[in-house]
């Protein structure tokens, strides 16, 4: 696979109803260069077409983790290898 001037491949993971709505538990891809923060990424997900558009309509109910740690919407994605999307947690 040629990478040219593109960024590195990242792993995207989906849990709970996000996994069900996207029909995806895990995928590997190179993100577009303009996607540099968590909020960019949430907006970009909604533009990927069906079923991601439906899964990512209400982004305020979606939490994001970068490399196994909770991340805020302004967090940068540079150097991150694994990004996870999930609803607010309900354990315990």
């Amino acid at each position: 696979m040629t990478k040219d001037a593109k960024g590195p491949e990242v792993t995207l993971r989906y849990f709970a109803w996000l996994r069900e709505k996207t029909g995806t538990s895990e995928e590997r891809m190179v993100l577009p260069p303009e996607v540099t923060t968590v909020s960019d990424l949430l907006r970009w997900q909604a533009t990927r077409g069906h079923p991601f558009d439906i899964a990512f309509t209400k982004t305020e109910t979606i939490r994001v983790a970068l490399d196994h740690a909770h991340a805020k919407s302004g967090a940068p994605l540079a150097g991150v290898r694994e990004i996870a999307f999930f609803p607010p947690v309900t354990g315990g």
């Binding site: 196994h68 996870a84 607010p88 309900t90 354990g91």
Partner: protein, 156 residues
């Protein structure tokens, strides 16, 4: 200090004995056990399935334990959380906090649960006896309980 994610059940007295065996400086132990209720928002529950994020779950539980150690004088602690499909009456979660003194043990167990409920990546899906199934919504009160600890810390 230990955390564990498990599909199988836990034995409270066995876990407590193992945790306290080496340390006679322990003066108090607080234990919390969370169980599957037989009802969910007025409906009868058939089963509950717990999903988690392997890798992050352990990392997050360890961060929560580390934070508890900073806030309270703890001798030992344990968090066990089950995943998979559970029935009403089954155990879900076990928290044990051991300390030289009672107050630290009780407060730490409460802190560990409050943080676990709002930060550890677990998700519950309830299956009702009428055939319906839904993901459980996060509760505002849980977020409030965890936020109260955060304020306590910043006030110091």
């Amino acid at each position: 200090m230990a955390v564990r994610v498990d599909t199988s059940d836990f034995d409270v007295s066995e876990e407590m004995a193992r945790l306290t065996a080496q340390d006679t400086g322990i003066g108090g132990i607080a234990i919390f056990v969370g169980k599957v209720r037989d009802h969910a928002s007025g409906q009868d529950l058939a089963s509950m399935t717990l999903e988690h994020y392997p890798g992050m779950t352990e990392a997050e539980l360890e961060r929560i334990e580390t934070e508890a150690r900073k806030r309270f004088k703890l001798s030992a602690s344990l968090i066990v959380h089950r995943v998979g499909t559970l029935k009403p009456g089954d155990n879900i979660v076990l928290v044990i906090a051991c300390a030289p003194h009672r107050q630290d043990a009780i407060a730490a167990s409460e802190f560990l649960m409050d943080y676990l409920k709002t930060r550890a990546p677990f998700w519950k899906k309830e299956a009702l006896t009428n055939g319906e199934a839904h993901w459980v919504d996060a509760r505002e009160s849980d977020a409030g309980a965890a936020a109260a600890w955060h304020h306590k810390q910043t006030e110091r």
